[in-house]
Every structure is written in C-alpha cells, then in structure tokens.
C-alpha cells in the first residue's frame, strides 16, 4: 500500500499540490471571512447579553445543520464550486470565533477597565491597548477551533465541485482504491494538525505574560 501511495504521489505530484492548495485556499478564505464576521459580531455583542444570546443562538442553530446539508442547500442559490463551499464553511466557522471574542472581551476585569478610564484613556485606547490584547488568547483559541473544523469539513466541498483534498477521497471511494482514501485522509489530518500547531504557537506567544 505504501508503494502505491508513493507511486501515486510520484506520478501526480503537481496534481496533488494543486489539490492541497485548493483545500488551503477554501479553508483560508472561509476562516478569514469567519474572523472578519465573527470578531465583529463578538465585539458588537460583548456588551449586551441580549445580542450575544441572539447571535450565538442563531449561529448555533445553523451549526446543527450538517455541513453537507448547507452545501447542498447552497447549490440552487450560488451554484456549484468555490463560492457555495466557502459560504457553507464560513457559517460553520463563525460561532467559535464570535463566542470566544465576546467571552474574551467580557472577561476583562472591571478593575482594569476602571483604572484605565480613571487614568484618562479614551474608549478607543482602552479597546486597542487593554481589551483586545487581553481577549486575544481566547479569540485565537476560537480561531483554532474554527480552522480545524473547517479544514476537516472542506473535504466535503469537493462534493459540489470546489476541489481540494476531498477529490482524492471521493475518487478513492468511487474507484474503491484504499491507497487514495488513506492518502486523502492523512493529508487532511496533517493539514489540520499543522494549522493547529501554528495557531497554538501564536496563542502561546500572546499569553507569555500569564506564565513568566
């Protein structure tokens, strides 16, 4: 089996790389959009329990719907390809980012905010210099969760013609080729682990003050 996998990689190296890049691109775009939307909504809802509950409830509901179902539902509206895949994956990735952003901002101690205000920091400074840096570890944790989920789920995007490593797996399924299934599965797992590693080292670097 190892030989067949290596042989396949050897013969299809450029094709394999294209699939890896497609996979990373769909995942990266989705996580990127999810950060934009999720962090914004998190900031927006941090000061209001009502907004927070509304948003997290709404996205929590969307999340219960299987990714595959969202993908299929997207087809009549957005057609097939990268666009519906990105939309479905973004929806999947928003909740952890949003929830962690809101929780991180809410977790900043009142006494820290009170002295910051008392020292004459305006709300913009307090947000940028105090609240955001203190919420950052949790925000990054949220992004990590989202990214790992998205990379795993992006496999399904191949089902609606968006490419990515899912192509190898679905081909393997169709042709009943165990080597392709294993290669696809391991590749996706490796990407997930790698992303997790990168983001956790980023998280490590912004939380140095908690350990030293």
């Amino acid at each position: 089996m190892y030989e067949t996998i290596l042989l396949y990689l050897h013969q299809n190296a450029s094709n394999y790389m294209v699939l890896v890049l497609q996979h990373l691109r769909i995942s990266g775009l989705s996580v990127g959009f999810a950060i934009l939307i999720g962090v914004s909504l998190g900031i927006y809802s941090a000061n209001s329990s009502r907004l927070y509950n509304t948003f997290s409830g709404f996205f929590g509901l969307l999340r219960v719907v299987p990714s595959l179902a969202i993908l299929v539902v997207c087809i009549p509206v957005f057609g097939v390809g990268v666009v519906p895949a990105t939309i479905a994956l973004t929806v999947l990735a928003i909740p952890p980012v949003m929830i962690n952003t809101a929780l991180g901002l809410r977790g900043v101690p009142d006494s820290v905010i009170e002295t910051a205000v008392g020292m004459g920091m305006d709300s913009c400074l307090i947000f940028l210099k105090i609240k955001l840096p203190l919420a950052m570890p949790l925000i990054i944790t949220g992004i990590r969760t989202a990214a790992v989920e998205v990379i795993a789920s992006a496999t399904l995007a191949s089902y609606i013609g968006a490419g990515g490593l899912g192509d190898i797996i679905f081909t393997g399924l169709g042709l009943y080729r165990m080597d392709l299934l294993v290669l696809g599965g391991i590749s996706v797992a490796a990407l997930s682990l790698l992303t997790d590693l990168v983001l956790s080292s980023l998280e490590f670097s912004v939380t140095r003050y908690q350990r030293s």
């Binding site: 820290v112 020292m119 004459g120 210099k129 105090i130 003050y209 908690q210």
Partner: protein, 258 residues
Amino acid sequence: MNLALEFKSVRKRFAKTGYDAVSDVSIDICDGEIVTILGTSGCGKTTLLKMVNRLYEPDSGEILFYGHPIKDMNPIDLRRKIGYVIQQVGLFPHMTIAENIATVPKILGWDRQRIADRVQEMLELVALPPAEFSKRYPQQLSGGQQQRVGLARAIAADPALMLLDEPFGAIDAITRRNLQGELLKIHRRFGKTFLFVTHDIHEAFQLASRVLIMDKGKVQQFATPSEIRSNPVNEFVRQLVSPAQDEQLLCSPGGSRS
C-alpha cells in the same frame, strides 16, 4: 492658601436606590493636603471621590478643580491630571511593570528617554528595585508590591491631585503599615494633594491633615484629627472616635467596600 478642590452643594442619587448617596456636600480642600474620607460602607465616600474624576456626575452642585469647574473640562484631560488608585489595583496584566507605570506619560507623548527615567524614578520611589521589577508582569508580584506599582503608575505623570479609594483595604496589616509610611514619604517629597477614602479609622487619623467623616451621604465633621478627637461635633462622630469603637474597628476584618 490655594484651593485644590471645592465642592459646592454637591448631590448625587443613584436611580436604583432612591436616596442621596451624596447629599449637599460643600467643602474646600487646600493644595498639598492629605484629606481622608472616613465612613462606613454605603456612606457615600467612594461616590464623592468618583465625582472628582467624573466617573460619576453629580446631579446638582459643582466641583472646582484648582478654580475651574470640572464639568466644563474634557473628562479625559481632567483624568490625566489626576492620579487614581483603587483597592483592586487594576494593573494591566499583559503589560510589564515598567509599561504599566509608563501608561499615562506615554499617552501624554513624553519622549522615550524621559519615560524611561521617570519609570526608574517611580520604582525607586515605591521601593521596588528597577533592575529586578521593571520587566516583570503584575501576576508575579505580591498584593502589596502590586499596590506599590499602582501608586507609582498613578503618580508617574506628575498629577496635581491623587484620588485613592481604599488603596490598602485588601492588604495585610503589616504591609499596610509600610505602605502608609511610603505614602506619607511620597506626599512629603511631592507635596501633592491626596484624597484618600478609607473605612479604617486608624488609617484615616494617621495619614490625614484633615479627616472628612461622612454618614448617610452627609458630611458629619471635617477637621484635623486632633480636633475631631477633642471636639466631636455630634453623637455619630463621638461614637466613631470613642476608644471602644476604635478597638472594634481595628479588630474587624477589612475589605468591605462602600
């Protein structure tokens, strides 16, 4: 004598309580004084303090800061001229001790060298050797050390007035005594005006040039410690400064807040 603060018929009521937290307070505080505000929890002492840096706005009356009505000043600018220290310290956990102390000088746009010199000077002032402490983070410090940094941070930009809200309320008795000594040393050296809220009668009388005794939002007596002892104006003050009460307050655990 130059007046640092003038309260003119200041009144404040919080919507949810339905009674005046601070009721018709009119007092003058001279430049360079240490005034302690003494009272039980809920007597309005913290409310009075927080109206000075406009964390609260009075419902009526006005407060003058070196002759200027604070309601006409930009609250952000006003706060940068006032040092503020609270019981929970509120150091920024993600910044080093040096960065914490440099906060207001940095906002005010001091140049780098001046900030570095000032941080060094402030750390020495509060007896924390700069070489050892400036690069540390707040959570590596004990409660007493953290409050020393709190003091250094508040005084770093050379404010004319210092507001202290039970700064030593959560600190053990021995460390508290040391810090009270440091505070007097700082006061002697810089001659700033201190407004110091406490519920510890011993602390109030030891530090103050004048003590402001409050109850139910009203000023009961505002005088020097010796005058209050020898000449309490009413039953409340008499009770408060009687030796038995003194003993009782000293023995009761600290930490309650108004």
